[in-house]
Symmetry: C2
Subunit: 319 residues, 2 copies
Amino acid sequence: MHRLLDDLMLKELDNNILREKKDSAILKIGNRKIAFTTDSYVVSPIFFPGGDIGSLAVYGTVNDLAVCGAKPLFISLGLIIEEGLDKFILEKIIKSVKGAAINADVEVVTGDTKVVEKGSCDKIFINTSGIGEIYYDGLSAECIKIGDKVIASGPLGDHAISVLSKREGIQFGTTVRSDSAPLNGLIRKILKASRKVRFMRDPTRGGLGTTLNEIAGGRNFGISLDERAIPVREGVRQASELLGIDPLYLACEGRVIVIAAREYEGRALSVMRRDKYGKMAKCIGEVSADHKGRVYMKTSGGGKRPLEMLSGEQLPRIC
Amino acid sequence: MHRLLDDLMLKELDNNILREKKDSAILKIGNRKIAFTTDSYVVSPIFFPGGDIGSLAVYGTVNDLAVCGAKPLFISLGLIIEEGLDKFILEKIIKSVKGAAINADVEVVTGDTKVVEKGSCDKIFINTSGIGEIYYDGLSAECIKIGDKVIASGPLGDHAISVLSKREGIQFGTTVRSDSAPLNGLIRKILKASRKVRFMRDPTRGGLGTTLNEIAGGRNFGISLDERAIPVREGVRQASELLGIDPLYLACEGRVIVIAAREYEGRALSVMRRDKYGKMAKCIGEVSADHKGRVYMKTSGGGKRPLEMLSGEQLPRIC
């Protein structure tokens, strides 16, 4: 259904800005360039280990701006609330929005609230849109060159497993906490350290597998990953096995995938590892001349397998 | 519940921009001023005489920008869709968004879609956020002076009655069609014709009564209306009587209330009446030194009565 929708939107609302399919639209206002993005959050449950729908809605939009080289400035907050939702739950969510806005150094400047009858929405849905000012221009998948390095800022899949475990009531040895976090500070440090960053993306919907396939798809290069290098927590690995899902397709909400020039790898990693949201950053692969348009993985067993676009439906209501 | 929410949002997210409680936040990007606004649309039914949730979502946000003296430029589109919603309905709504964006001369530049399980939302909810560039600075309720004129761009309550009649399955002699329309063109003409416009607002949630009370509330002037001058269609009057509601509290989605200097009244009316969305514009009252902070109405019977803030809940899911 998601693909159907994306196709429908692109076909009907066709314009140059939408066609770029970036996390944010890049727009000109006077002589300034701004980034503009929107996301609705329907996560269930609304509270999960490491976060809740309020902070998630702020960080998600902040990160969509940040990966485009923008400094996130202003956030809008649209709430759709089911009649009868406990006042204390609502207060907790609004407080979480406030705390997240402070953490991410953005201001919530405009808002809207709609209340619908019981049964017409599931507790609360939140839309945030955001405006940021571009300070690093030119991040684009078009700039990626063969030999570039692919870096992940931290372990993958924590967010999705945190939400899924809570929702399904599954208990593991250790609780996996969502990685939901504002990445604008980390990203600014990376971009300040070098002009050799080609492209960035936060691996949210569809996780690393989907993100990298979208980057390589239709382009004149392939991406080769090293499975042993990809950071996945033990708890996420165990939960994924139990749930029969591949952790490489699980949504993160506080990770960024950075593609940078080969010679910048060491510097990028050291900058990232000094930031609290990049401590476990790792180089996970590189851009290759082989298998153009596709993603391949050197498996830990020594073999090689393609990492395809996820077939079938994505997990519902993870964000 | 709405008031509770507004209070909660203001208390927690307190900042100078939110506190102004305008239809849009006015922000600075470089040396330009922009307006930024958000609205979620949960109207039920999603198709009604004169409009649908798609065009409503575009025009509503366009109008919130326009009444702040901004030229609406960019719109975001966030869809929350109930699983299984008919593809043709969805296509019809997206086409309506597209048509509305063309009519209003704005671009839909970024979007997001979330699908939730059957029963977790009622068909489709749409959030639109918008960015406009301020071209007429200084519209503010603070600028209103005693003696200023209050002008309505057209008949009141058409939108709410159109939605309510469809929802309740009520038939009248004539079908009332929603007034949902983009007002940026009309508003630009009004503002171009004179620098003597003080303030504007589109009487959406809570209609004329709520809008005027919000303008006068806590201020050093009152507003005196002339009931006989207030344009209300016969069909709206009849339906309101049948439903036991006051048309002066019914939401419009294509009307603007203009407060302008007394000497500009004639010019404003003639400019408005030449535009297709202002043909039935009328002066409905004036700003008075009496009953400060309140709205009074000279009734058609020759008496005088206060038009208070609406007590009790507003009609649900009108927009």
